[in-house]
């Protein structure tokens, strides 16, 4: 006889773990299926973890979660060929008892989170790939097929938390294919390094940490960003650009990563480290307009699989965890009210998303992906111009300031007409408004 559950959660990343944990805590019979050796073994992220989203699921997570450093300083840099210009925000108030952001190592963090799922009472099976959804003649999902022998399992609802490729939903025609302009390919490395060097180079002590987000010359004009995060005993450094741009430009991703590591302002920060891993991963970048249908008869989709990623603010895991929690809470509520998990009732999940920061934020930046895609100047000309302007202004060389000012203005107008400059400012302001 085929075993039957209240819910099957496919995937054990942040969204899947949040869903499975909340469901189990709510007293539902849950099966979670993960294809990796353990939760986290297939997962890649920068990685920043936003405390608030997790706190709403596991309030005392700080007691035993494997956290690296809490962030006290955020830097945003525009890289020129051999320089950067940017902003830093550092505040001692981020040294609170309940810090807001942490760097994490996903393989360790996800493993810990999944332990909590098991403790909460869910049945977790690893090393098992779900190959397809089981659907009846009316299209209602009633379970999954796995690659195990006799690997059919049934449930009232299947929650798909299978990540950016979202194979299950796409193969069942519940989601369109992912266009190359809606996903970024990011590659990254982890460099182990003496913590004393991290403290010295980033001016931090104890568990304090710094994150650097970068744009500019190093993406070669492609739409993309780079990052450097401080962990306890390591640094993660990575870079990602839209797949469509990689495809058009004929640039290899690992070449960009090497260029980033060799950039004169980055190299001294990572020097002396030992590379222990190289990873590649896709990031959903299509924003609001790319979010597919998120629920139907007997199914819900959460996290990256539902394209819930805020590319403008580099937020993803918090949207993932929140969507996982909402999906679970929806199911718990329906169960309490004795309502069937049909599309009309599961629509409560969509309502929860719409009323939260998840969809409100995505909606706010709904035009940003197109603007970025159509405006390569943000990724090449501007970093160049701003770095050049700073260089000119800060070089003391017998030229009067008025002349320097004119030179700078001229350099901007030459690379990008005055009309273009005003237009870009307007477009950007509108996209961020």
């Amino acid at each position: 006889m085929v075993e039957k559950f209240d819910a099957i959660v496919v995937g054990a990343g942040p969204s899947g773990n949040s869903a499975a944990y909340t469901l189990a805590k709510g007293g539902l019979k849950v099966l979670q299926i993960e294809r990796g050796e353990y939760s986290g073994s297939k997962n890649v992220q920068g990685a920043i973890m936003y405390a608030d989203a997790l706190e709403r699921i596991i309030p005392d997570f700080r007691d035993d979660a494997p956290l690296e450093r809490h962030i006290i300083e955020q830097r945003i840099w525009l890289l020129g060929d051999d320089s950067y210009i940017g902003t830093n925000y550092r505040s001692d108030s981020f040294n609170s008892e309940r810090p807001n952001r942490y760097t994490i190592i996903r393989a360790q963090f996800d493993k810990w989170f999944n332990e909590k799922v098991r403790e909460a009472g869910a049945l977790v099976i690893c090393e098992t790939t779900v190959t397809e959804l089981l659907r009846d003649a009316n299209g209602k999902v009633y379970g999954v097929r796995t690659d195990r022998e006799n690997g059919e399992v049934h449930a009232d609802v299947v929650i798909m938390a299978d990540g950016v490729n979202a194979l299950l939903a796409r193969r069942a025609d519940l989601q369109p294919e992912l266009p190359p302009e809606n996903a970024a390919l990011a590659v990254k490395e982890i460099h182990f390094i003496d913590p004393a060097l991290i403290e010295q180079r980033f001016q931090v002590k104890g568990d304090e940490g710094v994150v650097i987000e970068m744009m500019g010359k190093v993406t070669g004009g492609m739409v993309g960003t780079a990052f450097l995060y401080t962990n306890k005993e390591s640094l993660t450094i990575g870079i990602g650009c839209l797949i469509s741009d990689f495809k058009e430009r004929g640039i290899a991703p690992y070449k960009l990563l090497e260029d980033l590591k060799n950039h004169p302002v980055i190299k001294p920060l990572i020097q002396g480290g030992e590379v222990k891993e190289y990873a590649g991963h896709l990031i959903p970048e299509g924003g609001y307009k790319a979010v597919p249908q998120v629920c139907g008869d007997g199914w819900m989709v959460v996290g990256d699989a539902a394209h819930l990623n805020n590319a403008a603010h580099r937020e993803g895991s918090n949207l993932a965890m929140t969507s996982g929690r909402f999906a679970a809470e929806t199911l718990i509520e329906l169960k309490k009210q004795g309502k069937a998990p049909v599309a009309a009732n599961l629509a409560l999940y969509k309502k929860k998303l719409d009323e939260s920061f998840v969809m409100k934020d995505l909606k706010k930046y709904k035009n940003l992906p197109e603007i970025m895609h159509m405006s390569p100047q943000f990724f090449s000309a501007y970093p160049d111009l701003l770095n050049g302007a700073a260089h000119n202004l800060f070089t003391v060389d017998n030229v009067d300031k008025k002349t320097k000012e004119n030179q700078i203005l001229k350099s901007f107008a030459k690379r990008r007409s005055l009309f273009g400059l005003v237009g870009d400012a307007f477009k950007l302001a509108r996209a961020f408004r």
Binding site: R35, G36, E37, G40, S41, K42, N43, V44, Q45, A47, I105, R106, A107, Q108, D110, C126, E127, T128, T129, T146, D147, R148, V164, N165, L167, E177, L178, P179, P180, A183, L185, V187, E189, I190, S234, I243, F246, K247, G250, I251, A252, P253, Y254, K255, E258, V275, K276, E277, Y278, A279, G280, H281, L282
Partner: protein, 97 residues
């Protein structure tokens, strides 16, 4: 040059290889050779799994695959890549992720 570098990078990773059961394959070698001029899989794959062969086609070795899905997305216009995750428990196993 870049080939050597990627191999060095992949060498750091832990893989549980499913011998003789590649999870991704090219459906029709002729399509790569004749219909696909730019062959983007040969430069976009972060693990360099795809390489140009002497006959103008594309050769695929999935051993170093990071399971990112780039080739799946990029080959949509030709639909010539059969893309699956490895069997449960196999493939890349990140220590840090």
């Amino acid at each position: 040059m870049s080939m050597i570098k990627v191999e060095d990078k992949l060498y750091q990773n832990r893989y549980i290889v499913d011998e003789n059961r590649p999870h991704i394959y090219i459906k029709d070698a002729e399509v790569c050779a004749s219909n696909c001029k730019s062959q983007p899989c040969t430069f976009c794959c972060p693990a360099n799994c795809y390489t140009k062969d002497d006959a103008g086609g594309v050769n695929l070795v999935t051993d170093g695959c990071l399971e990112c899905g780039t080739c799946r997305v990029i080959c949509q216009d030709h639909g010539n890549v059969s893309w699956n995750y490895p069997r449960g428990g196999y493939g890349i196993s990140y220590k840090f992720g």
